[in-house]
Amino acid sequence: MIVRAVTGRARAAALAVSLVAIGAYTSTAGAFTVNITAANPRVIYLQVGVGSFNGIYNSGGTPANNPTVNVVSVTVPAAQVGSGTAQTMTTNSTASISYYDNYVFCSAPAQLYVGGFYRSTSNTGAASLRATSPANLVNTAGDRIPFTQISWTSSGNGDSGAQPFPAGTFAGGTQTIGTIARNQWAESCHTFRYANSGFVASGTYRGRVVYTLSTP
């Protein structure tokens, strides 16, 4: 309730008049309330290798599901097996552009795109990206190669600072790959290599790594 009036002695009189008027109507004066709340307070998107986005985000694009599981592989020449000379791996990924801005960020198939974003209305910390790898890659005969033989470097076209998902080596278990701060997009390109430090039987050794992005 606000009373405005003119100055000086006249103000007192105007006040008196206004108070009479207000007294007659304030008993019924109300206010209306509009409640607002976030429909989707937390949103995450994770892409490892090939992913899908309906458009580009800065043009109104939205994330989409993509069930593709990409393969990172290397064929070690017989003469090189166990030599200790690291063997650069390659991928079957075709994901070079970033859905962040359609920029050619990775060099597929040599590199594997790892990226995503985390949206939240609550300041409760960053989202965490973890990778779970088995202890070993295994061939059909049951021979094994420790997953710790596989490591990666991290970069991105045009990037000069630290990578959000930096270089590392698989642990043969669950490990943290990096974090995504609230309301940020993070991405890196990983180039894998096989350490080739052990003499192993011939065959195709397989193992699957599962990446998981978790919100606080």
Binding site: A5, A14, T33, V34, T37, P63, Y99, N183, W185
Partner: protein, 155 residues
């Protein structure tokens, strides 16, 4: 003595009335019949993913069926205002469209915006406001209440 003082007071009020504008004042309007169409407006991220410009805006829309009791001011010229007192923690911006009886506009907490100016012709004014609400998504952890009311300035 008593008769003398009464006479003086009467005289004073009479002289004041002569110099006053016609009770220029602000009143809160009875809007108790005004109702939002939805109990809660759901806001969605304007950009699905975070951007380099850090656009963390949540946005949504809802409607409000406005019914104002203007009976006390019929046949007066007045200005109607929508008021959103300072409140809450999130930065909020509300814009609205109307069906033509009131003016469209936009408002933030702590502001008072003109929505009508002219003669009050009837005791009740009905209008539908279509609200478009924007809020800072980095500061809206839960439900927030925006409490509006209407005020009228008379000449």
């Amino acid at each position: 003595m008593r008769a003398s003082m009464t006479a003086s007071l009467t005289l004073l009020l009479a002289s004041m009335a002569a110099v006053l504008p016609a009770a220029a004042a602000t009143y809160r309007v009875d809007d108790s019949a005004t109702l939002p169409v939805e109990s809660t407006a759901l806001l969605r991220w304007r950009q699905a993913a975070p951007s380099r410009t850090r656009d963390d805006t949540l946005e949504g829309a809802t409607a409000v069926a406005v019914r104002l009791n203007l009976a006390p001011w019929v046949e007066q010229t007045a200005r109607l205002y929508l008021v959103l007192p300072a409140q809450g923690t999130a930065a909020v911006r509300v814009s609205w469209l109307t069906q033509g009886r009131l003016l469209p506009g936009e408002i933030s907490p702590g502001e008072r915006v003109l929505i009508y100016q002219g003669p009050i012709a009837s005791p009740f004014l009905e209008e539908t406001l279509t609200l478009r609400i924007e809020a800072d998504g980095s500061r809206l952890p839960g439900t927030e209440r925006l409490q509006f009311h209407f005020e009228i300035d008379t000449d």
